[in-house]
Subunit: 364 residues, 2 copies
Amino acid sequence: MLMRGLPKPETLQAAFENHLQRFFAQHQASFRYGEMLEPIFYDLCEFVGRKGKRIRPLLFLLTHRALGGEKPENDEGLLDCAVALELLHSFILIHDDVIDRSETRRGLPTFHKLAERRLSVLSAAERTGRNVAIVVGDMVFALAVKTLHEADVEPVVRNEMVSQFLAYAADTGGGEIFDVLMGVRDITRVSAEDVAKMYYLKTTRYTFEAPCVMGAMLAGVGKAQVEALRRVTEPLGLAFQIDNDLQEFARFVSGDLSSSADLLEGKKTFLMLEAYEHLDEVDRTFLQMCLSAPTRTESTILKIQGLVRKADAVSRLRNRSLELFSKAESAVADEAWTEAQQLGLAEVFRAVRSRFTALSTRAV
Amino acid sequence: MLMRGLPKPETLQAAFENHLQRFFAQHQASFRYGEMLEPIFYDLCEFVGRKGKRIRPLLFLLTHRALGGEKPENDEGLLDCAVALELLHSFILIHDDVIDRSETRRGLPTFHKLAERRLSVLSAAERTGRNVAIVVGDMVFALAVKTLHEADVEPVVRNEMVSQFLAYAADTGGGEIFDVLMGVRDITRVSAEDVAKMYYLKTTRYTFEAPCVMGAMLAGVGKAQVEALRRVTEPLGLAFQIDNDLQEFARFVSGDLSSSADLLEGKKTFLMLEAYEHLDEVDRTFLQMCLSAPTRTESTILKIQGLVRKADAVSRLRNRSLELFSKAESAVADEAWTEAQQLGLAEVFRAVRSRFTALSTRAV
């Protein structure tokens, strides 16, 4: 049960999806670069329109409301800010998928794979598909910033929001490079702190902090309250990321290889670090070799699974995730907020968490 | 001789280069993502700091002054806007070079090649270098928008400038996709109009129109005057692009293969279109085959050169470029501007043109 005044996430998501469809209908004209580019625009609408968890728009709209902001369902300005956050996410996914050469996203082809299909008659379709996706990602980023910059909300706050939004985007890039560089680094030279810092920059900042901080700013709260929010979103983001690692691993164990890009790429996830830390010397060396090989075969992956089990890494991390959720929960009880605000925020994070858990096996 | 009050391009460029160095020194802290990323920041400073023609910053600062704006040399706000334009250009170059897999830029390694060198011990250095460059490009774009958004200039105009800047960036993306798609299309299905439209979107908009329009907006001119500017920059941009094609071809004929990415990639440049249009059926078929092959060998390239000569495409295009420069010159004599403004603008475009011609064999 949500507290009185806080809209149900389902109602809010429906309003958001409607607004997103209207947004694309309005922006079709600005993508009129001739018939060659039309199919690419339709692919983009389909890609962004895929039903994901919409964590960022919902977190933004709910936090804004919980801290005393206006009813969000029919507010065009607020919904545009929410669209900007979702477009930022889409841009990041499009480039991320090119970088990782992932083939599926939310159970359907990644954007560069969609572009590749459009070009399937060509010999260079694969590379051309990735090239188109790099540029479409850039355009979506430009559109995200433009949407926020022109949103019909209080101009002084909006100005500050645009600055923050761009700083979040840059940090996400910093985290992404971190991820790429750690991916090619030997596991013996990567620490759990490195991984935590990488995820903080790459995911937590734009997924949890940006929506909450922007929602709070528009609700008119002060600096101390914004700072207090960051003390909630940092453990929350880390907890979600660990959950994400665990869910990916569970899907993988159940036989769904397509959603296991991280494992296939040999990424240094929390799970790998946790396993590595709790194995003996022989097993460590083996894990190290598996991860540093240029590609991983099915039997290598099965061996990695075995080592993860042997180190009891899953239950260790599950406990760590629960601890972090508790830490976030305690941080909500901060005197920077009124009691009503604390109740509202606790409600928001519970709603987002249950949503994440319920949908996470379908979409990431 | 420049008219009184209009600073010399050399003086202005010196002020710009100084400001750019200070800018990077100030922004070093915001790139502090740990020791792993430090070398990448230094590579970025070197890349952006390379002495190019700086057409965009100079065009912005000179147009602003010619239309009655303040002296630009010591104005931090104006210089920040100029930096934003140069960063937009750097971002576009970084992604463009990844897409074309170019190896040199301004006589030095492209950004992804710099990143690749940093990673040279790795087996996947080449791909990882490109991945790093994709993300660094994204971060530079974010930094460009942020710099403009936070520049100390008149806030109402700045707001409108940010919207325009983002629209220009999106159009550049549209032109880039156009370019990618035309690159893999058969020359029989590409028209000179397509190529002109592609260059207008991909280059003219952000290289000529954006700096001039933004300079004019800050100088406080009205809508009609901004519209009149666009009638100058459109033929000017096309003329520069044709010159660029011709210069690349000349460098290539003189034996400098490294600066001929377009030819090596089989791009549909004005030169190729012009040659194709003026050849007989047999030669056309041959040119078509040369361009559509997955890669071009030295002997293919020599054959293409021969066909370009046979069609007399170089002198035809040189005439076309001169016509377009004249068209731009006539468009300056527009009653939307005062006589002093007309004289100033004519001076600006002459200065940029001579600068372009003088430096063009060194850097693009």
